[in-house]
């Protein structure tokens, strides 16, 4: 058992001396932390095969591989090195010797048994055990068509069950909506959290833009130029149709409130970019900001009581927060000349945003309690549009780093950078809440 806090490489440098004279002093701190939290060691030995058909073997391998990737991604669990399994007798799924697994420092054990089902399906039984308590925790039996998307979904579902068993918020069945020009012009696409199953959602000859998930994952609000102007639409999965919300002026940057009842967005319907709030179906539009400058990019606090947004009322774009009714506006970002695209973390204690410094755009995270700022991305590129995972341990964003615009994922502390897209240009990701 390792309960020590492993902080490998802690680099702290204090930049921006001007920040000290800012109304509320903030320090820009660059921190690189690996293994910031003690993670739960889990053993995931090879799945047991009940049949030797290639479909069964491939399915077992794929489910195990997806489960492993999910658990590694979680930042909650760590997988035991596979070499450890050689030190103990092979696993018998029906007769587990917990002492063996404890001896190689496994706290939890995941087992899988895969065989043939009816009508060419694959049957998979996956179980989670508490090694120290020597008890069965949870198990699922799946009857699956041996298609990769189906097998992946089953693995994600089980990994979510594992997370829930530890009181964590499920993330592996969540989706990322984004904009891609891979088929010629900007359209909405959707993919699994890990970049798999990229599918197209809209089919227009015009720009579809800036998608945002509703809390229940049933609706995506987005901007489309299909009506001549830049109007706001709702894409509903259940009804398979699009409904127009705001159609006067330019309407964009939608954001659903955490209770799912309201939709904040930016609109120029009164002649200037201001923030508005409507009911989630688009009715009852109400204006929140009254200012000659640009107000845009609203994002809700998880309590739904506040909205952070961007405004250049102070001369340059900066991040502000206000009460959800539009009162009590206060500035949140200091020390730079270009801050935009705030994204309030699910726990409410942090705001991720984009800062432009010398033509380089990077993602930063501001801790609202300590006023400490962490720089998440590095590279001579444009890193933009941060969006949080529902568990607040990960973010997605778009980056021009590879020469084209692509979507990347990164952990809350700057670790685990991974590229999720490669076809065409991809941007404006938003992570579903469920």
């Amino acid at each position: 058992m390792r309960k020590t806090l492993l902080i490998a490489g802690l680099f702290v440098c204090f930049g921006l001396p001007a920040a000290a004279s800012a109304p509320r002093a903030q320090q820009e701190v660059v921190i690189t932390i690996k293994d910031g939290m003690p993670m739960i060691p889990v053993a995931l030995p090879e799945f047991t095969l009940r049949a030797q058909a290639p479909a069964v073997r491939d399915a077992a391998a794929l489910i195990a591989q997806v489960l492993e990737a999910d658990l590694k991604f979680s930042r909650v669990f760590q997988l035991l090195p596979k070499s450890y399994y050689g030190y103990i007798p092979a696993l018998h799924p029906d007769k587990i010797v917990f002492k063996d697994w404890e001896s190689i420092q496994a706290k939890y054990l995941l087992t899988g048994v895969v065989g043939e089902g009816d009508d060419g399906t694959v049957q998979a039984e996956v179980k989670l055990y508490d090694v120290k308590g020597e008890r069965f925790m949870l198990g699922k039996r799946y009857e699956l068509t041996p298609k990769s998307s189906v097998l992946r979904r089953a693995a994600h579902e089980f990994a979510d069950e594992v997370l829930k068993a530890f009181g964590e918020r499920p993330v592996f069945s969540t989706k990322i909506v984004f904009v891609s020009d891979r088929d010629g012009n900007d359209e909405l696409y959707m993919m699994d959290y890990d970049g798999e199953n990229q599918t197209r959602l809209t089919f227009n000859k015009v720009i579809d833009y800036m998608p945002a998930w509703s809390m229940d994952g049933q609706t995506i609000a987005y901007t489309s130029y299909r009506g001549g102007g830049a109007d706001l639409y709702l894409f509903r999965f259940t009804e398979g149709r699009n409904a127009a919300v705001a159609a006067t002026g330019t309407n964009f940057a939608p954001s659903f409130s955490p209770d799912g009842k309201k939709l904040a967005f930016c609109s120029t319907q009164d002649g200037n970019a201001e923030i508005y709030v409507a009911q989630s179906d688009g009715s009852g539009i109400r204006r929140l900001t009254f200012n000659k400058s640009i107000d845009t990019s609203p994002t809700w606090s998880p309590t739904g009581r506040e909205i952070a947004f961007t405004s250049d009322r102070g001369g340059t774009p900066q991040i502000y927060a206000m009460d959800a009714e539009g009162s009590n506006v206060r500035r949140v970002s200091f020390g730079g000349t270009y801050h935009d695209q705030p994204a309030w973390s699910p726990a409410g204690d942090q705001i991720a945003y984009v800062s432009r410094v010398d033509q380089v755009f990077d993602i930063y995270v501001l801790n609202l309690r300590s006023s400490q700022i962490i720089k998440l991305t590095e590279g001579n590129a444009r890193n933009e549009s941060p969006a949080w995972s529902p568990d607040g341990r990960h973010l997605v964003f778009s980056s021009s780093l590879p020469g084209t615009n692509q979507i990347y994922g990164i952990d809350y502390d700057g670790a685990g950078l991974r590229r999720l897209t490669s076809l065409g240009n991809n941007k404006l990701p938003d992570w579903s809440a469920r």
């Binding site: 833009y209 130029y225 102007g229 830049a230 330019t250 120029t268 845009t296 933009e384």
Partner: protein
């Protein structure tokens, strides 16, 4: 001593006489100006069929053709800014006089930005640029109902490059004729 007095008197008289003469000359009216006679034009040969007027040419063309010829020129903006630059004013004046010539034309003013801004802020900034051009054309007497604005932010660069020249070309307001 009488001689010099007489001489002086005679000299004075002579001078006075001369002066009187001069005054008389001044009173002579100037000679009348010669009137120019209008010349009679020789009879012209029957004129060829008159070339189609600008109006007729304009009417014969499709919207697409007209837009391709770009009778309305783009204007450019400073980085992060949306005010009308001095170099843009004559362009807008020329655009306004073209619009005054073809009074049925309606125009969509598109605001664009370069890639060095976030998607959200650039969409708002593009709108501000389109609005600046719109306001300027209004001030030149173009009626509001002939103008519409839209912002594309940084989603439709004019120049795909990633350098100062491309960025300047992309920070623009562009005029598309949507009705004639």
């Amino acid at each position: 001593m009488k001689k010099p007095v007489c001489l002086t008197l005679a000299l004075m008289l002579a001078v006075m006489a001369l002066a009187a003469c001069k005054a008389k000359v001044k009173e002579v009216p100037p000679p009348p100006q010669a009137q120019e006679q209008p010349r009679v034009q020789p009879a012209a040969p029957p004129p060829p069929p008159p070339p189609p007027s600008e109006e007729e040419i304009f009417k014969s063309k499709s919207l697409e053709q007209i837009n391709r010829e770009q009778p309305l020129k783009m204007i450019y903006f400073d980085y992060d800014k949306y005010f009308i630059r001095e170099d843009a004013k004559p362009v807008l004046s020329a655009n306004a006089s073209w619009l005054n010539k073809f009074r049925s034309v309606r125009v969509l003013i598109e605001g664009h930005c370069d890639e060095r801004g976030t998607e959200d802020y650039n969409l708002a900034l593009g709108e501000k640029r389109a609005k600046s051009a719109y306001d300027y054309l209004l001030s030149l007497g173009i009626p509001a109902e002939r103008l519409q604005i839209i912002s594309y932010g940084k989603s439709q660069p004019f120049d795909p490059g990633h350098n100062e020249i491309s960025w300047q070309r992309n920070r623009r307001a562009q005029f598309t004729i949507i009705a004639k």
